[in-house]
Symmetry: C2
DNA sequence: GAAAGTATGTTGTAATTACAACATTTTGGG
DNA sequence: CCCAAAATGTTGTAATTACAACATACTTTC
């Protein structure tokens, strides 16, 4: 198991190596590998597992019965997912979680939280609170990216956010075209088309997933 | 101040009346009234206040420079808002908060959390965690309501959710037409038009904000 | 380095939505 | 009860998007 990534995670902030090792044991930490495209959770499942990405990345997505996919979030190395479902263990998942690329996930049983002593649990809960509040902001930002009614507006809203995050007008995005389309809730072909127009209009330059805002 | 609503809130679950009274003092609880349409927070503001609705309701919304409104959430009596910003006090708000109707809000200073004793703080943090995880699920559900590409799909996705929540095919929704349109991210006139068609098609019946799924 | 497979770009048409303008209904005072 | 204001419904047209079909480019594997 890749310990160093976990040690630097928000969850274990303020804990020393010994404590982390004990916690991993107490929470029944188990790592599992998935190939690109594999489904980690399906809509309707129940889980008490807090999940941590030690390698690769996963998409949180909703797939309707007509095969339309909506990507709500992309969770990369060093980040958590399913925290809401782990902490509210009677709520069935509303989403699917899929491996966006080959990846490794560590599962931590939140049911076992109850067995921890008060001090440790309090510190963990405080860190969990940070995780959930940040996740909230993440979910909100997707709403801003999909708020514009037109495709160009959505692309710009998204690219601007990434640009601000990376402190640069030039950056890579973590999505391929199909994923970006599913994230922005537009057709892939319409997205490709609009990106071409935006380049012709001198708004952006892009090649694969490298973008520059002009 | 309307104490009873606060006493039944998730935040104070497990606390007795004396403790709550002390906490309200320690967190500098202050109530303020707003008229319908008033702006409670504007995008870009910084706050450390956890906000609780004691009467009426507020909308969490994003307003772009062309006057387009997107409603992310409607927060009613007995619920909290701004918890993410209160707990991450350097993050400027991405949203506006407006009074959807005449309302009263209690503001609780999260900065003052640090002054509480460990036990009390731990219990509060655990309750805050419940608030943020539930808010996460709420934000997710809006994503499902706006996921369908077509207006009819969005309306049905939303109405189905409400129907399940209320355990009935007949129910009231908390939105007027303009709010529902801004929540589903569609034009008001298109929404009205589609609702008419859906009635003609025998899918639903509705009058004002009372709906029935057939 | 050729072939197969995957990802991305392009185009045309049908369907849908945006927007504006106006009609009708409902609501809240006076 | 009437009026004014607000909310909701209706309609037509221009603009945009969905969808399918295909072209091109890039990757991977043998």
């Amino acid at each position: 198991m890749d310990i160093s990534v976990l040690h630097n995670s928000i969850l274990f902030k303020g804990f020393d190596d010994t404590e982390i090792a004990e916690l991993l044991k107490a929470l029944n930490a188990a790592e599992k590998k998935y190939n690109k495209g594999a489904m980690i959770f399906s809509s309707g499942e129940i889980t008490d597992k807090l999940c941590f990405v030690t390698a690769g990345g996963v998409t949180i997505e909703s797939n309707d019965m007509w095969g339309n996919r909506t990507i709500l979030n992309l969770v990369g190395k060093g980040q958590f997912f399913a925290e809401s479902y782990a902490l509210l263990p009677d709520v069935p998942m509303l989403v699917d979680v899929c491996a966006a690329e080959d990846c490794s996930i560590v599962f931590l049983s939140m049911k076992s939280l109850a067995d921890l002593n008060d001090t440790i649990r309090a510190r963990l809960l405080a860190n969990l609170l940070t995780i959930t509040t940040r996740k909230n902001l993440h979910l909100s930002s997707r709403s801003f990216h999909t708020a514009p009614r037109q495709v160009r507006g959505r692309i710009m809203a998204y690219l601007n956010t990434v640009s601000v995050q990376k402190h640069s007008r030039e950056f890579d995005i973590p999505f391929d075209r199909q994923q970006l389309a599913d994230y922005l809730n537009v057709e892939r072909s319409v997205l490709s088309n609009e990106l071409s127009k935006m380049q012709r209009d001198g708004l952006i330059r892009c090649r694969k997933n490298h973008f520059e805002i002009i």
